[in-house]
């Protein structure tokens, strides 16, 4: 991008209540309707009466589709109002990054909830057959976003390594049960077979559809990238990324957060066709707007540099897990600190740590606006 220190978001935005309830066919309260209208006015969305009419309709496939479209329009306007340079639709069409793909791909069977921590759970599926591409899971939302913004679009795409890591591998382990006697070796071979089948049968066909339809930039989301931090597994992760993106005429980037960056840094320069690493740092950093060499949250950038990564950084300067509104000066100082470390501000895309789906819209908007202002301050400082 020609603009210095462009700003971007990472993916998800919270879903409004009218989107969640309306899509499920549940009745909306007065407050839910008021939320739709208030935000519609704030974001200067035209034809709000049409949305109200739709929300009052009986549940039907066309109503559900309409709600997804309206919700995406809200998110697109939201990011535009925040002043971002690169964005998508807040993932308003997706139930969740994992389930959205698994539910629309043949070969998986949802087994129910597994504890993530305390009273939080995630829905885990088993792979019970060779994965098969049945229908596109990102194309419609991409085409809709493309129609509704002139800004640069980055499509968030759940990566195959994460999909496999979060799924029970029944099919491939069973297939190898009489071929490899050692359980450990069998597990690893089965994982590889699952990964590369998924990439070939499902992931690449979807990427091809997106690219053929005009997608110029796809962000591969791999929160599980460093879950298995052994050399063998990290090499597998790299191979998997490279296989996913190879030979497409498109820009690719990688998003990874709340992970072990000491490990990721060692392997980052082996990622081919990976223009940007979008990483979470604000969460690790102090909130003081101090300058100098004291930005502890960003120290691991040094490792990426030492290991030879020369691509761009999607620099997380906004913590998505707190309601603290980062002042523009803090954002500026974080950017300038890293610009000095890497000696080249043109390699920085200013970003939140991750998607903002856990924050209320009021908070997210204030955070993003300050991020944009902070980027402007940094731009003026380096000019």
């Amino acid at each position: 991008m020609s603009k210095l220190l462009p700003t971007q978001e990472i993916g998800s935005l919270a879903k409004p209540r009218w989107r969640i309830k309306g899509y499920r066919g549940k009745p909306l309260s007065k407050e839910d309707m008021a939320e739709a209208i208030d935000w519609g006015r704030k974001l200067e969305i035209p034809d709000l009466k049409e949305l109200v009419k739709l929300l009052n309709e009986r549940d039907s496939p066309s109503k559900r589709r309409g709600i997804l479209e309206w919700s995406a329009i809200y998110a697109i306007r939201f990011f535009k109002a925040a002043g971002l340079d690169v964005f998508f639709d807040g993932e308003q069409w997706r139930s969740e990054m994992y389930e959205h793909v698994i539910r629309q791909t043949a070969g998986f069977n949802s087994l129910g909830y597994i504890k993530s921590f305390d009273y939080r759970y995630f829905n885990k599926a088993a792979c019970i057959n060779k994965p098969q591409y049945t229908n596109s899971f990102y194309l419609d939302e991409f085409l809709f976003t493309k129609e509704n913004t002139e800004k640069e679009i980055k499509v968030p795409f759940t990566g195959p390594y994460t999909l496999v890591d979060w799924t029970f591998n029944e099919y491939y382990e069973k297939k190898l049960s009489h071929k490899i006697m050692d359980f450990k070796q069998r597990k690893f071979e089965a994982k590889k077979n699952f990964l590369f089948d998924l990439i070939k049968e499902v992931i690449r066909p979807e990427i091809k559809k997106l690219v053929d339809s005009g997608a110029k930039w796809i962000q591969i989301d791999e929160p599980a990238a460093t879950t298995n931090p052994t050399d063998e597994e990290m090499r597998l992760f790299v191979e998997c990324f490279n296989e996913t993106v190879k030979d497409f005429n498109c820009t690719f980037s990688l998003h990874n957060c709340y992970s072990n960056y000491e490990i990721l840094a060692k392997y980052a320069c082996d990622l081919r066709n990976c223009s940007q690493l979008a990483l979470e740092f604000a969460n690790r950093d102090s909130r003081q707007a101090k300058v100098g060499n004291e930005r502890a949250g960003y120290k691991e950038i040094e490792l990426f540099e030492e290991y030879g990564f020369r691509g761009d950084y999607g620099l997380g300067v906004v913590d998505v897990h707190t309601n603290f509104i980062e002042p523009p000066k803090l954002v500026r100082n974080r950017i300038l600190h890293v610009a000095k470390m890497i000696g080249d501000p043109s390699r920085i895309y200013v970003s939140p740590d991750c998607g903002l789906r856990t924050r209320f819209w009021e908070i997210s908007l204030r955070k993003l606006k300050n991020m944009v202002s902070g980027a402007e301050l940094a731009r003026n400082a380096v000019k």
Binding site: S116, F183, K184, T227, T230
Partner: protein, 327 residues
């Protein structure tokens, strides 16, 4: 003797999951939630009894994670941020050690539904081992993690005394950090001696059976030193351990074989598990066979309850078959 048991926290049953979720949203009160925990505990205990397990646990449903009761129950420990539980998509709260660790009451007793354990069965307790506790904690107080490990071993000693008095006949010390590759590869032989010594402190003078249960990593990494650990049984995760290397060693003490995979929903074929166990047992016990246990390779909580229940039945069937084979 060939027995069987579980090695960790059970999955929550569907009804309990629903109750915890609505409790978190403020739609039921603490006593309704407690009732749901008790009902689920009854079902889990009954399932172990039906599966004829040699030792029975309460299912550990109250344990939000393996370390949480110690964060809540120990003086000198604060609750830290969420951290990944080894290489799983599951998280635990890091204990932060800010002062001398102190035990003012029985931590295990507080966290366990002792009243729900069946009277005519032998009871098993599961606690974090010294090395794993020290490795997973953030130490802001002691000179180093070794000192913390020994201090915690003293706490464990008191815990084991207390649970022995309560009537428990078996204590498992869970030690995944000892074999988890990213940590274990840097473990020196001297450190393994310290690990052994800390275990000695913890189990010294106890009259009940003791076990160090390892998982998420290759047991061969700590061989041959682990053979001399001062416990009765050694637990091995067979889904993370190289069979052929394991077979090169000779054991005298008992072994708990993590034969059923808690991290995959695929239900194992008993025939294969029997064959594998026979081969390993015949290799590692060249003269006299030690006590052997069939168990899951780690906590069953990584599975949905229905699948965990099916796997308990597999454990039962494999144990029976092995008893016939070795009778």
């Amino acid at each position: 003797m060939i027995g069987c048991y579980v090695t960790g926290i059970f999955p929550r049953l569907t009804e309990l999951i629903e109750c915890t979720r609505i409790y978190a949203r403020g739609r039921i009160n603490a006593s309704d939630l407690e009732k749901a925990f008790e009902d689920a505990t009854t079902k889990i205990v009954n399932a172990q009894v039906s599966a004829e397990f040699s030792y029975v646990t309460d299912g550990m449903l109250r344990w939000q994670d393996m370390l949480r009761p110690f964060i809540k129950g120990l003086g000198g420990v604060k609750m830290g941020s969420l951290a990944r539980w080894f290489n799983n998509n599951v998280f635990y709260r890091k204990p932060i050690i800010v002062d001398t660790i102190r035990r003012n009451k029985s931590i295990f007793k507080e966290a366990t539904y002792i009243g729900y354990l069946p009277k005519n069965f032998r009871w098993k307790a599961i606690l974090p081992a010294p090395y794993t506790f020290a490795q997973l904690s953030e130490n802001q107080f002691y000179k180093d993690k070794t000192e913390l490990m020994f201090e915690y071993a003293e706490i464990l000693k008191e815990e084991i005394k207390s649970l022995t008095q309560l009537g428990f006949k078996y204590v498992q010390l869970s030690d995944p950090a000892l074999v988890y590759e990213p940590i274990a590869t840097s473990l020196s032989r001297t450190e393994l001696d310290y690990v052994s010594e800390a275990l000695r402190v913890a189990v010294e003078g106890t009259s009940i059976k003791t076990c160090v249960q390892t998982f998420f990593g290759d047991f061969c990494q700590i061989l041959p030193e682990a053979i001399d650990f001062p416990v009765d049984h050694l637990g091995i995760d067979l889904y993370a351990t190289d069979f052929e290397k394991l077979k090169e060693y000779s054991f005298e003490k008992g072994v708990a074989f993590g034969l059923v995979d808690s991290r995959n929903s695929l239900v194992e074929e008993p025939d294969e598990l029997v064959t594998v166990t026979k081969e390993i047992v015949e290799s590692i016990y060249p003269s006299k066979m030690g006590e052997v246990f069939v168990c899951p390779n780690c906590d069953l909580e990584f599975l949905p309850w229905e699948r965990a229940h099916e796997k308990m039945k597999i454990i039962r069937s494999v144990t029976k078959r092995l008893r016939e084979e070795f009778s």
